[in-house]
Amino acid sequence: MSNELITIIPVVLYLALSFAVALWARNKSASKSSHGFMEDYFIGGRSMGGFVLAMTIIASYTSASSFVGGPGVAYRYGLSWVFLAMIQVPTTFLTLGVLGKRFAIIARKTNSMTITDFLRARYKSDAVVILCSVALLVFFMAAMLAQFIGGARLFQAVTGYPYIVGLVLFGITVVLYTAVGGFRAVVITDAIQGIIMVVAVVVILLAIINAGGGMEECMTTLKSIDSGLITPTGPSNAVPQPFTLSLWILVGLGILGLPQTTQRCMGYKDSRAMHDAMVIGTLLIGFIILCAHLSGALGRAILPDLPAGDLAMPSLIMELLSPFWAGVFIAGPLAAIMSTVDSMLLLVSAAIIKDLYVHYRLHGDASQMPSISIQRMSLICTAVIGMLVFFAAIQPPDLLVWINLFAFGGLEAVFLWPIILGLYWKRANATGAVASMLVGVATFITISITKPAMGGVHAIVPTTLVALCAFVAGSYFGRAPDGKVVALFWGEQQ
């Protein structure tokens, strides 16, 4: 058997497993009513336990960049970039802890399945809902495309098969299992993908330390290449302190503005699940991020002269692992990519079916439509969007690639303050939410394009501040939210 074929075996096995999960999930959700079906398809009947919840938050958060992009930069900048990556450790406990039980309780009270549902119940505003849905569609499509391209390129680099083969293999898999299995399939494949990611990073890190002759030897080699590789600010201060510190804002607050992650906080079974997930999630995400980035940094000691950082992980895999283990490793980043794409795909589908179609065409009453047509529509919608992204990835359009540069910050600018302040500030109203979304996105894009000198501070820091000011100003300018909303969201009896 040729090496290419052996490499691809673990990948194919793993993809087949994802299908099996989707079919199982489909049988599991045998709900009859239209509403029951949507609750199942889009949020899994709110039945996630602690382990699955932790895994799905990690998996929807970690993406191609955690396995290829990030370690690639660590290859160039050494331990400073591992140090910077560790900022992401609090992701899970912070998201779950800050949104917390309030968010879960209110999501149940208002019957919210998506962030848009939640914002609609809080602000009672079509402008807020439509802006959210549009932002979600545009930024998610661009982000999914970037994930597809990243995955297919990695597949090509490691297995030697053409770009299109990789794209077809995992692109079709992810679209199909998401469309068929819905949320349940997404979170269970996420859990499997999380486990695969853990195995993958351990395999590659051990292989690298082994090849470098032990940790001490690796560090000595790094120091002799450039002593900056083992400092917290990188070679010739390439990773300045203000930049690193501003990532605390981007990651710490930013994560609360990512709808694919925050939506998870509506779907857990009970408060016990949330407690468990905070611990398990922190433990695992720290492990994955540490191992992956340390691999990239130490990889410099093994293959010191690669022309580009992005080649670091694929080259190390081919150099150090046997074809079978290379296949196991490649399943790791593919899993990270697929688990990000599947959550986004489902949310885009939910935005179209639930937030827009059911709400505006059926006036919020899904039972007007027979359950079977809602099912068919959801499935087709998910599949069509997935295929659109898939075809776009064959010949990536410049516009979407360009939009993707703004996806992460753009999502944060749109969703962060409306979610947080909607949950914790009684005076927050639709005027404030709309103002913060528009001003936030505009600020982020302007700063990202014009790149004014800010001493290394990331564009997201001023964006977050400006959006906050716009929110507060808008809220005081507009009318206070009515008593019913306050009663619903603060649980107060009048």
Binding site: R102, K109, S271, R272, Q493
Partner: protein, 107 residues
Amino acid sequence: MKKQTQDWRFAQANKEALFSLGAYALYFIWWFIFGYGMGDGDPEQYSFVWGMPEWFFYSCIVGYPVITLFIWGVIRCFFKEVPLEDEALDADDDGQTSADSKKGNVA
């Protein structure tokens, strides 16, 4: 307007959110002090633990299990299990919340 009584679960949830932010701040301080504090000098002068520079070992390798343990402890001591569904509360409630939630559905 009468004095309003807040849902007791929300008071608990607010406290837990503050604990989470506190843990975030603590992790930041740990990471910052060991990272920039120990790593600021000349790389030639670094001392090493298990083959890794001291600053890196303490801020990254040790820091993250420490914060995980801390979170575990905080949850054990200060987090409470609360019912997430309103039905569980209806026994000691006048039904106002569930009436409101129906309005929420339509909206």
